[in-house]
Symmetry: C3
């Protein structure tokens, strides 16, 4: 397993959850999500400890979740509160409850040790509260690929020229070098394409009539949150790297949720600094994003299918792999850190 557990992941958009028992799979774990009578989101293991029936096949009685097979009933903390036909409740009869956090119309879930689930670690950005920015939700895109291949893709501006030639890229950027840096657990890859024709997206939304300067900054907050800061400005304006707000600027956000080793859900959305009064612009931009992300999906799924076979030859490493290499190193560090307690426990046991 390659899953980093001590991190917040997107369980879904807030609007996806209500009183219905909604089954999810995250990191191969089956989870049922519902809202209590007060509206608070609850996430429990979606498996009755008696006969393994998914609890999502049962029913909600007030704030209690009743199994659909023999009526074992659990509260919102996962404690068993009733076993029909017997008065004593087995002490082991409980299901796991997952820490949740809800903000910005997104429900976040913590898959690791509950005591480390610090809400301050949930991703956020100031633009959400900035009146110069408009957020707009996108989709939950299911991709048959390991989540790290998606994360690689989000440390990799180079693919844009080839995978998205009609929307987000064009041939002008093909040979432009990429800057790459690591800051803590964030990988930052970026490049500027100066004095070139606008790409399809900015033709549609930028109203440009001459050459533009275009930028792509990819911030990958390991393991699973990506912010893509990209935009364009007329080249004649000659804006500096820190003056991006003067151009047409977007933040495309991707929140990756590993479902299994070979399936990932990408909840994506964007924020924009133009057309704040244009109620339909967010939806129109999403149409372009859908085209582009379907192109990523096709590439990543084709590669995932190949993983079932040995490679045709030894893989080649290229200069554009620096960002993904940083990412893989950070993930390896996080996985090693998560295995530390196990080591400590082993050391204690060996000493006693």
């Amino acid at each position: 397993m390659t899953f980093v557990r001590n991190a917040w992941y997107v369980a879904g958009w807030s609007s996806e959850f209500g009183r219905a028992l909604t089954p999810l799979t995250i990191m191969e774990e089956d989870i049922v999500v519902f809202r209590s009578e007060s509206g608070r989101a609850v996430a429990l293991t979606d498996e009755c400890p008696h006969k393994r029936l998914p609890l999502s096949k049962g029913r909600l009685i007030g704030d209690s979740l009743q199994c659909g097979y023999h009526g074992m009933t659990f509260d919102c903390d996962g404690a068993c509160v009733r076993v029909p036909g017997q008065t004593n409740l087995p002490s082991s009869a409980r299901v796991r409850s997952y820490p949740l956090h809800e903000a910005r119309d997104i429900l976040w879930i913590w898959m690791g040790e509950a005591e480390k689930a610090d809400p301050a670690l949930v991703f956020d950005m100031a633009a959400f509260d900035d009146p110069r920015w408009a957020p707009h939700q996108g989709d939950a895109l299911q991709i048959e690929s390991n989540y790290l291949a998606l994360a690689d893709n989000l440390c990799d501006p180079a693919h844009v020229s080839f995978v998205h030639p009609t929307t987000l890229g064009n041939p002008e950027s093909e040979d432009v070098p990429i800057d790459c840096a690591r800051e803590g657990r964030t990988v930052i890859t970026s490049r500027w394409i100066r004095n070139a024709p606008p790409v399809g997206f900015f033709k549609a939304f930028g109203n440009f009539h001459g050459p533009v300067d275009r930028w792509h900054y990819y911030y990958l907050h390991a393991p699973c949150v990506a912010v893509i800061d990209f935009g364009s400005a007329a080249s004649e304006a000659a804006i500096g790297e820190d003056e991006r707000d003067k151009g047409v600027r977007l933040f495309a956000l991707h929140f990756l949720t590993p479902v299994t080793e070979t399936q990932t859900i990408d909840h994506w959305m964007h924020l924009r600094n133009i057309g704040l009064d244009d109620a339909g612009m967010g939806a129109r931009m999403n149409e372009q994003f859908r085209l582009a992300f379907a192109e990523d999906k096709e590439i990543l799924e084709a590669i995932q299918q190949r993983e079932a076979k040995p490679p045709a030859r030894r893989p080649v490493r290229l200069a554009v792999d620096r960002g993904p290499n940083f990412l893989r190193r950070i993930v390896a560090e996080m996985l090693e850190e998560e295995s530390e307690p196990a080591k400590e426990t082993a050391a204690v046991q060996a000493a006693s």
Copy 2:
């Protein structure tokens, strides 16, 4: 493998078989069934010993079964009677013939040692010959589940309140204790729910206007035959436990046939002691049973799917598991008994 071989299993309703070559899979074994010219049912291994083509892809010539690839031909005992193009018949060229028994419009097959296939062991019940009872065939319900999980379910009246709330159960029975006993290789679980509203089934067929006494007796004749004796009588009649014939009483029969480790066919039917002159009542009752058994199917298949994964936590044992626990012990005894000859053989070999 968890299959008890020395037992009679239902191959199908008699009406399912004729001169057509009908392929079946029972306990992972491929079997072809047909009727001889005299109408006698025949069951042979459905695989030519030459190239492994299913014999069911061949054709019947009188009482001989000819392979569709090179014409090897077998009689109703499985002996090879012709090899086209050669005059000598290889002595090893035969296929297995399975003992069959046909009664009550049901074709039974014996999957174990042929010399133990005693027709006296075929399930039967006196009600078939009793003019106060009307039998009615149901369906062959295919369930993607190991057969023992189904058998568990048929030692388990407790599930009725939760799985079948609109047909066979209602909340009145949720906490009523269950009696449980073992008699030889039969598990008997039962309970009476006194002075309660009738369940959906008996509302439809019992014409009750007040509270009823309702009973459920589950007789599981291990490994694969279940008789469910259930019914209702007006509570004011205050019938005793042995006076069930005074009420509206049914026997629901389930004959489980293991197809593979993860698939079972449940041939179900019923006998009733009311509406003997109502030609349509059996079919109307079957509509209710179909609803209920589809609910079982959904539960059991959801659980079977989970078996591909390790459980989320250590299973909890409940009081309602007593019946299934008896069943599993009986099956373990039967499996051990079937492995005895192998032990004896091994002992003889070790001694010689």
Copy 3:
């Protein structure tokens, strides 16, 4: 793996390939085929050595194949000629190029050591250039079966009586003995059925009014090319075995291409010595062949499905297996021969 690599296999009919990037799988290897600007067919490994994306998801720029993920570009020999964003090309960055040969509107591919790919070894027959014969292409029939089971079938005239009773065979041949011989790497099986009613195919195309002499000669050039010489002549003409041109005579050709261990494509076609002026006769004959080969497909796929299980009993060997037995021996010899270089290499390494 049971694949004989040092042999020419049919990649497809010439008409299947053009400027489009056409993905194929042969012997579990993913291959992309396209025509260069000059029309020459090219076959490369269909997998970029960088991230494993199928190159068939990229695009052709002149005679260069560009990967659709990061733009790595390869020439028709498989050499990397461009890596966007960097000037040095990694020396290991190449893909395999497969030897091809095109003749008779068929594209042949060599799956083994390139230096052994002698075009003189490509199957051909004089009838293609003989004005008394008309060739006609058939289909690419995909069969879910190991290729050797198909090859067995093409050393096995005995199956015709049973598998193709309405088209190519009839009961008259059931017990007629089969001659069998090996000449180098060719298995020849044959028989004459004298003085019998014509089979369906020759009823349709032979205009026979009385009994005929019918012949079947199967030439299996191991591992994957079969020529079936079959035909009929009026029995009263009493033609000799070497006078087959006096009858209605066909060559049915089968070119087997192993896709995986359990899937094969059979490119089949025929040549005929009648109806040379009848432009529609080839297509009408193909209709009969389609019926017959669909019957083979059904048999072979049913057998392949059984291979997932152990056999019901020890296989029986029959007289009709002599042809397939020859074939299997030849294939074993070819496989052993292909492993020789490995042995030599090992010997050299052990000595040094």
